[in-house]
């Protein structure tokens, strides 16, 4: 009886899905908890979560970032995290919840694949693949909003494919509101849906009125809500707000060129080849509305990436999930072909081979992504950095300004609870390039007067020097700091220094 029920259970896809979910989640949490800390840019979100937990509202008027400025962002993701942080510590919630959300993608991929193929085995295969896309591992420790955004996007697409059922209309509306309140990446979906309408017209598909109405509504919603949230940024930066006022020096890090080899590395050859074939087949061999909507989203992400209107990581994540789902369509076509051919006896072997090929290609890529020194989830501050900053939060003046490298600014605000000179929230900051140049000058100049002049300019009395900062500038020490007339070591911890200066340039 037990064996039979077990056998029956094995036949149910939900059991397999849960198994895949647990495996994916376990792997992600294993990597996440390999370090107790987060990537540097996670600390902005953590600070917002803390503030929401304490006051109920996001910290829009931030007194610490850039010595005090207004932050602009859509806060839903932070609210969700804040809700969970009521039942567990913030750092645990920051590790678990984004990774749970990330792992949930396998369910949506399964349901979308099933809608296209009506084949649960193929759908399980693609949902398995979606859990192991290398680029999807990059934000494990970033408290990233990308995971929620991608989950919402593909869930909306699923709802769009089921608009004939009334409840999915309601779900689509609710999810659209959620997406718009999570991220400006909703624009990618808007453009995708508009491309979808165009493709429907070109492919002589009938455009359903419900689809048209929902897309029209979503277009207005996305543009208007983002205009409301980012109005001040538009007024200050104009259309350059698309590039988030990122300093020119580091702009290429966010909106870099996508080389084919890099794409192979972060997505894996199997979804790329099978996904691109699906693109071809959908236009030339067998037309399918479900595939068209996915192609449209993929095209939208690709075009925006190509024109550097979408940051590299977000774009590659959307593209990779799209390609994985399109893989299901290709696998279905392969399945139909195999069924009719003489090699139908070997269908299991073929699928297992594809899966093995996928695993062989992604395992080194995942390892490479996880171990990536700058971007990987293990690229976190050191314990020494954190303890020094915690010490500073208790022992230095409340209104002190601590100068640090760009990447460490959020961490300074989070742990030391003191003002930073610069962090990774660039919007509404004037002369951003000059500011970054000044910080670089402080860490690389050999002239004490230059450094003091810049520190005076930003009213910074403290200078944080970490081994990571020195490494990033390719230096082993900062020569002028040896002069203890102007710079004294306020605190030191495991190779991390906090210098204090009272000197002024008159």
């Amino acid at each position: 009886m037990k064996l039979e029920s077990l056998k029956n259970a094995k036949e149910k896809p939900i059991i397999w899905l849960l198994a895949i979910f647990i495996i994916v989640l376990a792997l992600r949490l294993y990597i996440a908890f390999d370090t107790p800390l987060f990537n540097h840019d996670a600390y902005f979100n953590l600070r917002q979560v803390e503030h929401i937990r304490e006051t109920g509202t996001p910290l829009y008027k931030d007194p610490l970032s850039y010595e005090g400025k207004t932050q602009l962002f859509a806060p839903l993701s932070q609210y969700i995290l804040a809700a969970f942080s009521l039942i567990m510590p913030i750092d645990i919630a920051g590790k678990i919840i984004p990774n749970v959300i990330a792992a949930l993608i396998i369910f949506i991929v399964y349901y979308l694949s099933f809608k296209i193929t009506k084949n649960y085995k193929i759908s399980l295969m693609t949902s398995f693949m979606s859990g192991f896309i290398p680029i999807y591992f990059i934000d494990i420790n970033r408290v990233s909003i990308n995971y929620l955004a991608v989950l919402l996007m593909f869930t909306i697409i699923y709802c769009m494919l089921k608009l004939n059922e009334r409840k999915y209309v309601d779900y689509a509306l609710i999810l659209m509101f959620m997406l718009v309140l999570t991220t400006p990446m909703a624009f990618v979906l808007v453009i995708g849906l508009l491309l979808y309408l165009l493709l429907l017209k070109l492919e002589n598909f009938a455009v359903e009125m419900k689809e048209l109405e929902i897309i029209l509504f979503f277009t207005f919603l996305v543009f208007w809500v983002n205009l409301l949230i980012y109005k001040n940024a538009f007024l200050m930066h104009g259309l350059l707000v698309i590039w988030q006022n990122i300093p020119i020096q580091i702009l290429s890090n966010f909106f870099g060129n996508i080389g084919f080899i890099q794409v192979l590395g972060v997505i894996s050859i199997v979804p790329i080849v099978l996904g691109v074939y699906a693109f071809y087949a959908a236009f030339h061999l067998e037309r399918s509305k479900e595939v068209l909507i996915l192609i449209s989203l993929g095209l939208s992400a690709f075009i925006l990436l190509w024109f550097k209107l979408l940051d590299l990581i977000s774009g590659l994540i959307i593209l990779s999930v799209t390609l994985v789902i399109l893989t299901a369509y290709t696998l279905k076509r392969i399945d139909v072909f195999i069924e009719k051919s003489k090699i139908h006896k070997y269908d299991k072997v073929i699928y297992i081979s594809i899966l093995i090929l996928f695993l062989l290609t992604i395992i080194p890529s995942i390892i490479s992504v996880v171990d990536s020194p700058k971007l990987g989830p293990l690229s976190t501050p050191t314990v020494g950095d954190v303890e020094l900053l915690k010490w500073a939060s208790v022992n230095i003046q409340q209104n002190a300004v601590i100068m640090s490298s760009l990447d460490e600014g959020d961490m300074v605000a989070y742990y030391a609870k003191r003002k930073n000179v610069m962090d990774t929230n660039f919007l509404l900051t004037p002369r951003i390039d000059q500011r970054l140049n000044d910080i670089n000058e402080v860490y690389t100049t050999t002239f004490e007067t230059n450094a003091i002049g810049i520190l005076n300019k930003y009213n910074a009395k403290y200078l944080l020097v970490t081994s990571e900062t020195l490494q990033s500038y390719g230096i082993t020490n900062i020569s002028y700091l040896k002069d203890d007339k102007c710079f004294e070591i306020e605190y030191i911890r495991d190779g991390t220094y906090l210098y204090k200066t009272d000197c002024k340039i008159e």
Binding site: I214, F217, F220, F223, L227, K231, G238, L239, R431
Partner: protein, 458 residues
């Protein structure tokens, strides 16, 4: 009939409220000064008496027959402040009547006119003294007479336009020809008007050339922000653009005539990205398509009612948001009483030949109140491109000798440092560095809004 009159009255009242709101709120905030820079320039040219030459800026000006109307001070104040609003209201009434002649449904007409009224460009054109108030009014008046087969009156209205602004005459011809091509109804009349208008444009060009105004300066082209939602001065709302696209699709009729008309309209749209005059004209045309689209969206049977209601609500909110953003912007714009005080101080302080360095966008205001030449204003940058390049050098150079050379060359003695100009100079850093570190600049006046720096030669 009664309903129609009721709608028209409501629309006129709405227009009146929107046109009066900015200046009324400013007066409540103890600021009686006009909001728009161009208006100051027009008034200064009018007041100086010499209507073909700007004696302050030292270049010729286009012939504007409005400047021939010599009035005393109180009458001219009415001209500058009240007449534009009256022209706006008259434009609304005439547009309403013109649309009525086109057998368009009452609701659609109301939607079109309402969208026109709340459009930032309408508010821009009909507040304070601008040539666009008269140009747009004459266009609509000409159309009204055309629709009512009063050709001579129509000709009279249209041929006046080039003598207010020659480039507007060109644009009017182009749009009339497009209309003539697309609509066979008033073909002959439009042809006659176009010929008359063309002759008028040629005459205006000849007269302007005779009096030394170069036709090359007639039209200025530069890439501008066109979305008022994100701060454009002369622009449209994003929702209107979407509605216009929907309207264009709805009103499409198969046939090459429609195709050609749409291509011509597309060309106008593209040009409007670069030219304010074309953008102002196009605004009134796109409102027609947007109005059709809006009524269509409200009338059609949506498959999901809640989406219909939310979408319509979003559209309305978005349009009103755009109007609100624009109106708030002009309410808060310079000049304020403190600003004017500073300029009057400079007027008392300075010699007539001395120039003032300030933000180009406030140049006309500076010239009006200080009666001194601004280094750059909205027109000089087209007459003298070298000044534009030199402003960049002055703002960014940390070399005192280099900066002084330019300041002496142009006889710049005063720098008006308001928030906008200070922000620009902070980006460039050079001049601010010199002001801080050299002893060649002295702060001679400061209040909440502006600081005046004086350049001391030796």
């Amino acid at each position: 009939m009664i309903n129609e009159k009721k709608y028209l009255v409501i629309l006129v009242l709405l227009a009146g409220v929107l046109l009066l709101a900015p200046s009324t709120i400013r007066i409540f905030n103890h600021n009686n000064y006009m909001t728009n820079s161009e208006a100051y320039n027009n008034i200064r040219i009018y007041n100086q008496g010499n209507i073909q030459y700007d004696s302050l800026q030292g270049h010729s000006t286009p012939i504007n027959i409005l400047n021939f109307i010599r009035l005393n001070e109180s009458a001219s104040n009415i001209l500058f402040n009240v007449v534009p609003i009256l022209l706006g209201l008259a434009t609304i009434i005439l547009a309403y009547l013109v649309l009525h002649k086109q057998n368009i449904s009452e609701k659609t007409i109301v939607a079109i006119i309402a969208l026109m009224i709340v459009s930032p460009i309408f508010i821009y054109a009909f507040t304070n003294y601008k040539i666009y108030s008269f140009v747009i009014f004459l266009n609509v008046l000409g159309l009204y007479f055309l629709m009512h087969d009063k050709i001579m009156f129509s000709v009279a209205a249209f041929v006046t336009i080039p003598f207010i602004d020659p480039f507007s005459g060109f644009v009017t011809i182009a749009l009339l020809l497009t209309y003539m091509f697309s609509n066979q109804k008033y073909h002959t009349s439009t042809k006659i008007i176009s010929i008359a208008l063309f002759a008028s444009v040629i005459l205006s060009l000849i007269l302007n050339s005779f009096y030394g105004y170069s036709i090359l300066h007639m039209a200025t082209f530069r890439m501008d922000n066109i979305l008022t939602d994100i701060g454009a001065n002369i622009g449209v709302s994003f929702s209107i653009i979407i509605l216009t696209i929907i309207g264009l699709i709805l009103l499409w009729e198969d046939g090459w005539r429609t195709l050609v008309t749409y291509i011509l309209l597309l060309i106008f749209f593209v040009i409007s990205l670069f030219n304010d005059t074309v953008r102002i004209y196009i605004n009134f045309i796109i409102m027609i398509y947007a109005g059709f689209a809006f009524i269509y969206l409200t009338r059609r049977k949506w498959s999901i009612t809640i989406i219909k209601k939310t979408t319509i609500l979003l559209i309305i909110c978005s349009i009103f948001f755009s109007t609100l953003v624009y109106t708030t912007k002009i309410i808060r714009s310079e000049p304020t009483p403190d600003y004017v005080d500073a300029l009057k101080f400079v007027k008392e302080q300075s010699l007539p030949t001395e120039e003032i360095l300030c933000s180009p966008t406030i140049g006309y205001v500076v010239e009006y109140y200080s009666e001194r030449k601004a280094f750059l204003d909205d027109s000089i940058q087209y007459y003298n491109k070298q000044r534009h390049a030199d402003l960049d050098i002055i703002a960014s150079s940390r070399n005192l000798d280099r900066t002084e050379k330019l300041l002496k060359q142009y006889n710049i003695k005063y720098i008006i440092m308001d928030t906008e100009f200070e922000s620009y100079l902070e980006d460039k850093e050079g001049l601010l560095f010199l002001i801080d570190t050299s002893n060649k600049f002295k702060s001679i006046y400061k209040n909440n809004d502006v600081e005046v720096w004086m350049y001391i030669e030796s």
